[in-house]
Symmetry: C2
Subunit: 351 residues, 2 copies
């Protein structure tokens, strides 16, 4: 008998570690960029009115109703939309579609640490391109990614929160001989996005999630928009019934209330501005954020110390060890009350 039946690459790889989901409930949890406000009223209503008897039947396999809504919102055809069980499902489908031992992934560092983990499952090499010290994209990015077949760009980037100029994105998408996936998990909080570029570039995929801006992290719904031929191929990889019946309907209800989305966004951006002001007065620096979190550097550049002090006070932020990232903590923009709690601890330490 063999000692392991797993593919060697599975035995060798480490699993992705998601942000902590603590079981204690009286904590200020501002570590995984969840929304402090409830989902849209239509979400409550959809669940309340849902007749559970319908669950005995399979869901519509290709999520057609919600894809139609997404298409209308983004001014594309439904054939240009794929729905996923969270945008992690979308990322997984993309990496399975375009990466292999001879088809490398390119991505940036620091960025979302799930990308290299998904590539490892495919035994695909990963070209990790270091961002500049201000977390901008290096000018020679196309030279560094020549051999890659898929390039994933989180825009706004996580955990840093900054965005990249649209003109630079266009240049990269045009010059890259492969698929560019722009992960727009945080784009609803940003000044602009790449969705309109999908019509110009047949090698562009734009992915979105309802986890952050729509306050539906617990629901698992994400989607991608791309040219029909790209979507067709990705559809083959998708599980036949990857999005459950209730999720399709709840996602539809959330997407149909754009007014509520705007209102929530405005509130969060106000709190983010407050956080920026207060941290600045305490001697912090931060990366200009286009997202619902702030990558903030305390005066002593010791992210670990701040993380530990906050934790001792029942406040959970996220800390990313590393020479550069370790100088920061990532603070999700919670409610004003939650941010006030964080500022109290920060004041005690740095004032």
């Amino acid at each position: 008998m063999k000692t392991s039946y797993f593919r060697p690459s599975i035995d060798e790889m480490s699993a992705y570690t998601p942000g902590e989901q603590p079981k204690v409930s009286n904590l200020v949890k501002i570590n995984t960029n969840e929304n402090p406000y409830p989902p849209a009223p239509g979400v409550f209503e959809t669940i309340r009115k849902f007749n559970a008897d319908r669950l005995r039947l399979y869901p519509q396999p290709t999520s057609d109703a919600v894809r139609k809504i997404i298409a209308e919102l983004n001014n594309v055809e439904p054939s240009m939309v794929i729905a996923g069980n969270g945008s992690d499902d979308i990322l997984n489908i993309a990496i399975r579609s375009f990466c292999a031992p001879d088809l490398p992934l390119a991505c940036f560092t620091p960025s979302y640490s799930l990308y290299p983990v998904l590539a490892a499952m495919q035994q695909a090499p990963v070209l990790k391109i270091s961002l500049n010290s201000d977390f901008s994209i290096p000018d020679d990015v196309l030279k560094q990614t020549t051999n890659a077949n898929l390039l994933i760009i989180a825009r706004p980037n996580a955990p840093t929160g900054n965005s990249f100029p649209i003109a630079q994105m266009q240049k990269i998408i045009k010059g890259f001989d492969g698929i560019v996936l722009v992960d727009e998990a945080y784009a609803d909080f940003a000044d602009d996005n790449c969705m309109a570029l999908v019509k110009d570039f047949p090698n562009l995929i734009v992915s979105r999630t309802l986890s952050k801006s729509y306050a539906l992290a617990g629901l698992r719904f994400g989607y991608a928009v791309a040219s029909p031929s790209i979507i067709n191929g990705m559809m083959k990889i998708r599980d036949s019934y990857n999005v459950d019946m209730l999720t399709q309907e709840v996602a539809s209800a959330a997407l149909l209330d754009q007014e509520y989305l705007s209102k929530t966004k405005e509130t969060i951006l106000k709190t983010r501005a407050l956080l920026e002001r207060e941290l600045t007065s305490l001697g912090f620096k931060y990366i200009a954020s286009q997202a619902n979190f702030l990558f903030a550097m305390p005066p002593d550049r010791d992210g670990q110390r701040l993380f530990d002090a906050l934790r001792a006070d029942g406040i959970i932020v996220r800390y990313f060890p590393g020479e550069i990232t370790g100088q920061y903590v990532r603070i999700s923009v919670g409610s004003d009350v939650e941010i006030e709690r964080l500022l109290q601890t920060a004041k005690r330490i740095y004032n």
Copy 2:
């Protein structure tokens, strides 16, 4: 620019075709083995009482609460359980774990046609072992599967509905130098199952779904039980939040009501017996079923003709083209009223 950025195997493969989910609602839909009865009362209550505000947070990533319930039901440790977004997710994870271009999949024909599709995504060769003419497993199965790393056995088998002797299963699992995955999607309708064997065989995975017996096809929840080291490895492949918050809680409620499950099962088995009797009196033959469907051969052995005639009367069953399978149709055991409708059409044709 390349003509396609997809991995060549993705361009070459065809997607799995799920059973038809018609949009017209006044049909008798007995084609995808859905349950004609509603899910357990606890399912209705869980959804009615669910506070949608909670959806703004991520779900518990590893589905711990429902895994604990599954472990207790099956008399194993929670570390021996993995939860999935439907058992398709479980099958996908298993094939990604154990199959590769040099690690073939073995499965039977006829059986669930998703298995070879999932293997194609991994560029894994597929050894298709023909079942005997009575759909039993051939005696030389171990000789035929020598080179495979994963062997999937649907037990009861689909679309045929028959099972395989436990003693034969033990012999296969013991003799096979690789992982045996027993897909028990229909085991709740059967006289016995392989769950107790997991403790004896470190190379055995048993998978289950809530789609059929628990009447929750629309929910997407499945699970697998295996030795902790197998589960550990499969956990790495799983999406970090593969089962959403509401699904975890609804699945728990359904699993906790074993009395309701038994009651539904008894009703379905009674209807199955009625269907068997009536079809026999019309000159049909059928494969002795351990599932909630019947693989039935009309007197003229023309499955297509029966399928078309039923469809013309608004009754949808499933037809599998092929020299052997084409002599049958697969009839899901619906309600007594639905089966009565089917029998009316059958009587008109064959009496």
